[in-house]
Amino acid sequence: MGILRGKLLPPVLAILFSALLCGVALLVSGANPLRAFGAMVSQVGQGTTAVDIVNSTGTYYIAALAVAIGFQMNLFNIGVEGQYRVAAVVAAVVGGSIVLPPGIHTLVIILTAAVVGALWAAIPAVLKVTRGVNEVISTIMMNGLALGLAAYLIGDDVFGELRGNNIRTPEIPESGWVPGIPLGSSGTVFGLVFLAAALGIGYWVMMNRTRFGFELRASGESSTAAAAGGVSAKKMIMIAMLLSGGIAGLVSMPEILGRDHTYNLNFPAGIGFSGIAIALLGRNHPGGIALGALLWAFLDKSGLALDNVGVPREIVTIMQGAIVLSVVVAYEVVRRVELAAEQRRVGRELGTVGAA
């Protein structure tokens, strides 16, 4: 029950608070908040929205896991954004230019994406380890460079090909696709949503049951204590960053292998930033992140319904920001209350101190 209170109460409070805040904003602007929220909820039943939410949850989930691995050791990988973009281009190019038996083809594409993402993340990692460059700044810069590199790679004189007014990489042959689960008119669930789930399980096992996870957490909690315990901070930074980048590289795989089969100019941006927010929401816990990703995807997708009721869709962004901010505040408040309670408890159980 204590766990429930500590872990679940804060996000619930935060969501309620944010909804209230946005409700007030809506009221002020002359809209009916109940109608707006109602429209959002009923949107889930419309068309493919439910499936889109699931698909998008998968994508966000991978991005948030990538961020969370860094967070575990206080490493802020703001560069997921660039990592998944570069990985997507290269993987799409590779996938589109080779022919392999089904399965193997897919595997090669996915591995390429992971490796490229990791390599892109390796640059800030090396800079941090060898030159002490703050990873927040370097990954932000790398995001810019990623855009440039991607643009260069899909140039029609490099790897790209023209399709009407769009440019895209050569289409990946069917042997590289990952079939989804077709649900008729409600859409198709991407096959790689299960990859996201598997990554989540792997992440949990790694963090809680393996030596590596322990070392990661130890470095995050106290780099000095970890060093004294034989955990090399530099090594952990490198590995965590590579792992984070590798997972980031997979972010767009569900979409590319499940639907688009190519990288083109409509490639979505901003998933990395959402990933940061979601990792924060989920407190780096795989379950929490799943809920966070689901919430995020729900807000994203059902927010489209707001157009129908004449409410600016941007209220959703405000809500997302407000949730992140209030959830961390709520966690902090609950943490303080619990720490005091814990100390009281220890003091009481020992019954020794101060009772002179």
């Binding site: 810069m141 600016p312 962004t317 992140v324 505040v329």
Partner: protein, 421 residues
Amino acid sequence: MSASLMNPSEAPATLPPPRKSRKIPGWAVGALGVAGAVVLLSTTSYLTGVPQLTSTGTIQTAVRLALPILLAALGGLWAERAGVVNIGLEGMMIMGTWGAAWGGYQWGPWAALVSAAAFGALGGLLHAVATVTFGVNHIVSGVAINLVGAGLTKYLSTLIFFPLSNNPRESPAVPKFDTYSAAGLSDWLGRLEAEQRVGLSDVAGILRGLVTGVSPLTMLAVVLVVGSYLVLWRTRFGLRLRSCGENPVAAESLGVNVYLYKYVAVIGSGALAGIGGAALVLNPGQPGYLEGQTNGRGYIGLAALIFGNWRPGGLLGGSALFGYADGLQLRSGGATFLALVYGAVLLLAVIVVWQLVRRRWFAAAGSVVAAAALYAVYYSVDEVPSELTTYAPHLVTLVVLAAASQRLRMPAADGVVYRRG
């Protein structure tokens, strides 16, 4: 055991006597840096035959592009000197752009400034509440503020600007400041520049760029940089504020109200970032608020701050570098940009000599390799691909940070959540 103690002559005298705090004063370092940069640029410009490197227009562009970044960086300086990392600068800047358009549309450019500062400060207040009062991780709060800032302005524009501009993503046109030039000086420098004399014309071009078509905003920014220095390093208020970033516990124990100073600093930080947003809106080429117009400049400001070692002069240099690199690539494209590569080779050559003098053989060898590689690029390419030049400022930042990061010193308690008691 025998009772002899060491012989005085054997005492290892390895500890150097405590050095004086600084050998060369900061302003002299800055002046030297500027002079060095000018010499480097004019030499490059002469050797490559690319006058744009030091033309009036390039410098003016650099100033215009650097302005928002500079103001954001200055905002970062205030917050981080008080120990609060402010990655929410981007969001505060966005709020500033909205505020500037809203105030400016109704009451003119000065009101735009005030209202931008107020909106930015609002973002700062939010950050302060989260980080100071609730002890939330500074980066986390900053990320959230970037989200909130973007969402809020979008929402408000839909409500307020749409009826005026017919576009939910844009404000109506906002009146701008007039610009000013030091007329006589500017013309004289212009003639000097046109003579194309080595060095002299370059200096003239740079100076002319700095005194021609100056907006009050630029002057304001200069005043703010100098003012920030004076306030932070020359007043009791500044001393107290900085002490909160260095050792808040000590400050508190001496009767400094750390929470209060952090609040003031972070709110001020937001206001400065907001003014940075106003600088974008009030830019002559900009009709007004436009969704997404900050385009990551808040983050770049943060980079300039770190680049500048958390000092006003340094961040001025960082922003100038950014504005210059960006301006050059926008104005003249890849061919001119290649001249900069040549400049980098020259710079590396100087560094190699320096390293040889200091007997750092490995470092010198590394620099030689880098210089050779860059020269090979310069030699083999006619034009840097545009995909690269567009993000050249990012690349330059990375390279410079990689070279200089270890010399940087951030405030000791920067980013540390402080709790009273």
